[in-house]
């Protein structure tokens, strides 16, 4: 245990910590802050967000047909309010427009002046009700048509899944797709940041001994070549620490996006344009992403530990880590974290890639350990 602590201690000197700090700052500014500041992004997304939350408060994570009738009634009420507003506007009344329906259908060519006024009401004055109605309409449109849309979706080439989806309870779950997209974007950037940080920190684990010429001393102590294993443990603990700290901070920040109302909603939501293979809740999806990030962090730590032992110079170390970082980043952005379990890729590809990566990590290490036990230290 003491040895492991010493090894971890060696990995974190102030230069490395400073580097991590700068890297995280840059990453936050370049890739993360936007998704916190502009969520949900503008109108009517913001109104949509608010309304779906109200729906969950009222109906629970799913909206069944009966509840949908209720939702439509609410819509009617809101339309009435809008009608009153339109009727109260002199210019519109003069043009014979007294209802929300008329207000909505009205277009520019017939009366440019009035159209400017309409734009002013919506974009300048930002009268909430018009935005909210727009959001409600989009919810209704999706709710009423998601079944036929799914059936005619040419991109989903899996009748079994379609059946499963359309028969599931969760198909009525309330979960806006931008909530998932936002989380997915954030967590994959955090995942990339974690992978890079683990590379930077863990990569030094063996090479510092080589560079400092310390291996002869270490391998002749009682601990001897077992140090390789202890260092591996240290690398894994370090990776866990880095991942946990970053994720901890990330979820603190993510809390400001206030999406917890949706945790119980399923990915089989009628709100989605893109679909997911699994009928899991948003919360389970978050857990799955977190597990994915931890696995990637361990794989990175394993490969870095291996490379650190077999490479002699820092330039080779950096050079050999670049392809690994590039491949991991591409995979993360493609399907390991972003679009995890999305229908763009077979579900087995995601799981298979994770297993494959873990196997590679394990294989190189066990290969090296076998060699390490008998290798001549010249």
């Amino acid at each position: 245990m003491r040895i492991i602590l010493y090894e971890i201690g060696k990995l974190f000197n102030w230069k490395v910590i400073g580097l991590l700090f700068l890297l995280s700052f840059l990453f936050y500014q370049l890739f993360l802050s936007f998704h916190f500041e502009y969520f949900p992004n503008g109108r009517p997304a913001g109104d949509h967000f608010k309304i779906t939350k109200q729906m969950i408060a009222k109906y629970g994570p799913e909206m069944n047909k009966k509840e949908y009738e209720n939702f439509k009634k609410t819509y009617e009420k809101e339309v009435n309010k809008a009608d009153k507003y339109v009727a109260s506007q002199e210019e519109f009344a003069n043009a014979g427009i007294t209802t929300y329906e008329g207000f909505k259908k009205f277009d520019r060519p017939s009366n440019p002046e009035l159209d400017n006024l309409k734009a002013e009401i919506i974009f300048k004055k930002e009268i909430d009700i018009f935005w909210e109605l727009q959001a409600r309409e989009s919810i209704m449109e999706r709710y009423e048509h998601f079944e036929e849309r799914t059936l005619t979706n040419r991109y989903i080439d899996n009748e079994e899944w379609k059946k499963e989806y359309l028969n599931s309870e969760s198909r009525h779950s309330i979960l806006p797709d931008y909530v998932i997209a936002n989380f997915s974007n954030l967590i994959s950037m955090v995942g990339i940041l974690i992978v890079l940080s683990v590379i930077i920190v863990v990569s030094r684990i063996h090479i510092i001994e080589y560079q400092n010429n310390a291996i002869t001393l270490q391998y002749t102590t009682m601990e001897g070549r077992n140090l390789f294993k202890k260092k591996l443990v240290a690398a894994m603990v370090t990776a866990t620490m880095i991942t946990t700290v970053y994720l901890g901070i990330f979820f603190q920040l993510y809390a400001q996006n206030e999406t917890s109302e949706f945790f119980a909603s399923s990915l089989f939501s009628f709100e989605f344009n893109g679909h997911y293979w699994l009928d899991i809740t948003f919360f389970q999806y978050i857990i799955a992403s977190v597990v994915g990030v931890y696995l990637l962090s361990f794989v990175t730590a394993a490969i870095s530990t291996y490379l650190s032992r077999v490479v002699w110079s820092y330039i080779s170390l950096i050079g050999s880590q670049i392809p690994i970082a590039v491949v991991l980043i591409l995979l993360i952005k493609e399907y390991l974290i972003t679009r995890m379990f999305g229908m763009q890729y077979p579900v087995y590809l995601t799981i298979g890639t994770y297993i494959g990566l873990l196997l590679i990590g394990g294989a190189v290490l066990s290969f090296r350990w076998k060699k390490e036990r008998i290798i001549d230290i010249v």
């Binding site: 003491r2 510092i208 002869t216 002749t220 102590t221 009682m222 601990e223 001897g224 230290i377």
Partner: protein
């Protein structure tokens, strides 16, 4: 007891050591050979960094590879060049190595204070190693080797970087330690071992040539070492004729120390007692690595 039994080591096609058989009991052994003779290979095998291609190394009758931890637990090793972390203090550095040596934290702390005092570093325990001079680093290395109170202490060029005063102190220390342990000193500096080693081991052509006490080894050249004065003008021809192992210039004359099989031909030749140095130079005279060296 540490035994090397018909040990050979090959690196690919290159043979570094061949059929070495040696026994070590408590006491100080001086491993003497020029650079490149296989000295470091032998030591690295004794400390488990290299594994014999053939033969075995036994400690108290068991193969050291089998003993594994048990063996390294009684081993203290000071490599020729050893690694240290520049930003560590000697105390932290030794604590780290103590952990690797499987020592209890408290025992280690006590021992470290003791050792740092022994090697004269008690005043700089909290200074960073990057500020240390070569000699100070070497003393840290010696302290580290003795941390676990080893039964087998193997020191590769331990006095390099030490000044004469430190060397003297180091030798005294070794004498005390040698009571109940095996100490193997590898060096090519003859004077290092001359005064303290009980036995000298000489390696030549990948094999052990001698393993004996200094007195016995010196007997090889008994009656063959002479000193004489030669005119500078004749120095060149004298050199060509005899194997000179030492020369120094005094006014217009050269004093030669040389080896010859002939009985004193010239009355001016003074027979002198052979030293270990003489034997060393004599044995390795045809060794390319010694070419051009003077005393």
């Amino acid at each position: 007891m540490l035994v090397m039994n018909q040990v050979s080591k090959k690196f690919g096609n290159f043979t570094a050591l061949k059929d070495v058989t040696l026994e070590f009991d408590n006491g100080i052994y001086g491993l003497l050979a020029p650079n490149g003779a296989g000295k470091t290979t032998m030591i690295k095998m004794l400390v488990t960094l290299l594994f014999p291609t053939n033969g075995e190394i036994l400690y108290d009758g068991t193969d050291i590879t089998t003993l594994d931890e048990e063996y390294r637990n009684v081993l203290g090793y000071l490599p020729q060049e050893f690694g240290y972390y520049k930003n560590y203090t000697p105390e932290k550095y030794l604590m780290y190595l103590a952990a690797l040596k499987g020592m209890e934290k408290n025992t280690a702390k006590q021992k470290i204070t003791e050792l740092l005092k022994l090697v004269g570093l008690e005043n700089v325990t909290n200074k960073k190693l990057k500020k240390f001079s070569g000699g100070m680093i070497q003393r840290v290395g010696i302290a580290q080797a003795m941390l676990n109170d080893p039964k087998i202490l193997i020191l590769d060029e331990p006095t390099s970087g030490l000044d004469p005063k430190e060397r003297a102190r180091f030798r005294k220390l070794l004498n005390v330690l040698a009571q109940d342990r095996i100490i193997i000193l590898s060096t090519h500096i003859v004077s290092d071992v001359e005064s303290i080693a009980n036995q000298i081991i000489m390696i030549k052509d990948k094999k052990v040539l001698y393993k004996d006490s200094i007195t016995n080894i010196c007997e090889i050249l008994e009656g063959k070492i002479y000193e004489t004065e030669v005119e500078i003008a004749n120095a060149e021809s004298f050199r060509a004729k005899y194997f000179s192992i030492g020369e120094r210039q005094e006014r217009d004359q050269m004093t030669f120390r040389f080896i010859t099989e002939e009985k004193a031909i010239d009355p001016a030749w003074r027979n002198v007692r052979p030293s270990l140095e003489d034997v060393f130079l004599y044995i390795y005279q045809d060794d390319a690595t010694l070419a051009g060296s003077t005393v």
